[in-house]
Symmetry: C2
Subunit: 333 residues, 2 copies
């Protein structure tokens, strides 16, 4: 591995001049510049970002921490982040914490030592202590998918409430009155917020809320299946269900088919997330799209702002979702 000194020697020139052409600075004789570029080629040299980062106090890496990389929303989001980061000359370093808050701490610590210039994180349960530490250090962070109601860190989130309203109202507009809800509970802020939207939409239309029609589980097909099974066994089952996550909707389909029922003739389904999978369920799932790639790009923009800023910005960007109608909801006569 050659260093800047090697190529200086080879080109018979000083290191500073080499450094100058490396960084495209002006005031360098075209002819020496040529010599240097020649030497760079010949020695197949590439500068050490380590050393560079050390003096510049900047690594040009941004960290991205997620609880589970196999979450199906992840790839699109990641792609948005990578693409936008690249535009600004940044690379992205990933961490998968496997939902382990100990690993989260480690990941954050690892990233601190100026190894990364900023962090985008997407925890399910915010590690409040760590977040506050970062904030105190004025370390650039942006949180994704989680409104910073209590914390004060720049955030880019979804308007889950509006999405819940949108989905539920769509069902109502199609003539449904007995509308179920399958969602995530507990620590899952998104599911909770979507439920809020669901209730709001019902209320707006004067439909009484019925606790028996909602089931909370976790974001995976099995849980969705179990929930739907329960709903189907009700004395008066719903004619339509808003499933707050497409993965759960996929499981719901299973339960419905196991019962010998058909979608949307017997029961209508609307999902949320617009995962790749939703296009391939039978019938194709009507769902809510969240523009994940844009969201990722916006997260990078925001983080870059934070990096440039002197003081933490504490901004909040909220994304609105769109409904994409496919085949899983029918008009009730």
């Amino acid at each position: 591995m050659s260093t800047i000194r090697d190529i200086a020697r080879k080109a018979q020139i000083s290191v500073s001049t080499v450094s100058r052409v490396l960084n495209n600075k002006p005031d360098v004789n075209p002819i020496t510049k040529n010599k240097i570029e020649q030497a760079i080629k010949e020695l197949n040299y590439s500068p050490s970002n380590l050393a560079r980062g050390l003096v510049l106090k900047k690594s040009n890496i941004i960290g991205f921490i997620v609880p589970d990389i196999t979450n199906p929303s992840f790839p699109e989001l990641a792609r948005g982040i990578i693409i936008r980061a690249r535009v600004y000359g940044y690379s992205v370093m990933f961490f998968d914490t496997d939902h382990d808050s100990q690993v989260e701490k480690e990941a954050i610590n690892l990233m601190q030592g100026k190894q990364v210039d900023g962090i985008i994180l997407s925890f399910d349960e915010a590690n409040r202590d760590e977040l506050e530490k970062l904030k105190k250090k004025q370390f650039p962070v942006v949180q994704i998918y989680r409104k910073s109601s209590e914390s004060t860190i720049s955030t880019i989130a979804l308007d889950n409430i509006s999405a819940g309203v949108m989905a539920t109202r769509f069902l109502i507009d199609k003539g449904h009155r007995k509308i179920g809800l399958i969602t995530t509970g507990k620590h899952a802020q998104s599911g909770y917020e979507r439920q809020k939207g669901y209730r709001k939409a019902l209320e707006d239309s004067g439909i009484p809320f019925d606790k028996k029609l909602v089931c909370t589980g976790t974001n995976n097909p099995d849980s969705g299946r179990a929930c739907m099974k329960g709903l189907l066994e009700l004395e008066y089952p719903p004619t339509a269900v808003f499933v707050s996550h497409d993965m759960m909707a996929a499981g719901s389909y299973d339960a419905i088919y196991e019962k010998g029922l058909s979608i949307p003739d017997d029961i209508s389904i609307i999902g949320h997330d617009n995962l790749v999978i939703s296009r391939h369920l039978r019938p194709k799932l009507t769902t809510i799209d969240t523009h994940k790639s844009n969201l990722g790009q916006e997260a990078v923009n925001l983080l870059l702002e934070e990096i440039r800023a002197i003081e933490p910005l504490n901004k909040e960007v909220i994304f609105q979702a769109d409904l994409v109608e496919r085949e899983s909801v029918r008009q009730l006569v």
Copy 2:
């Protein structure tokens, strides 16, 4: 951000001693050790991996370059890599080249400057020149999903031929004789190899190969749909089809349903990849599982060997696949 000097000053001790406790070296008085740890806590100090990497010539980062992070095989693979890397104290840096060979070059270059200790890469079209350069530099690399028939870089790959045989033979054993193939062509080595397996299985059973029964496209649902459409319009369409990628199989389903046919009554399908989606197609797709997470872990193991080795190892690890039977293939009477 505090440095090792800050905490040396605070603890009234020299930097070397601080460095010693930081690295858990022996021969340090417990009482001074305590003082130092105290100072570290108070100043919330964490060492700079940049500086550390500079002197150690080691970043503890491994690079992972993929053509498209939204490829549905990716998350599991990535998870295997991340998890195994973590075990050995490595972090993982991702690059998505978007199939752009210019970006590939950039990514490789970026990683060289000792920023990463090694690279795992998964190109569709191998960038032979760059690969050779890396090899000349003795830079640790392992290639994934691609047999190094011509190149001589450590590789971890799938036995696609055997997988193709396995899938096709399964169809044959179920009584099928007219067996179609939908696969990827051109630059897609995997699809080509699986086709080889398909032909071998036919040959072994004395079934003549019929060119009209194979369609080559690209790995996405639309292409699978188009291929299946063509097969269905044949005068004598196949009774079963081996689709070499689950994403294409998903598209095949569409074409079949559009034609008003049913799976597996009218036509049987076997896929390959065992993506999450395959469990949620109707009927559930019988397919080939490739142990993607293991593969990722093995890739890290191999890379770590390369890093430790003086000379390039040029090893080759081949993974065998397993058939997972679900509902999309029927026994022909």
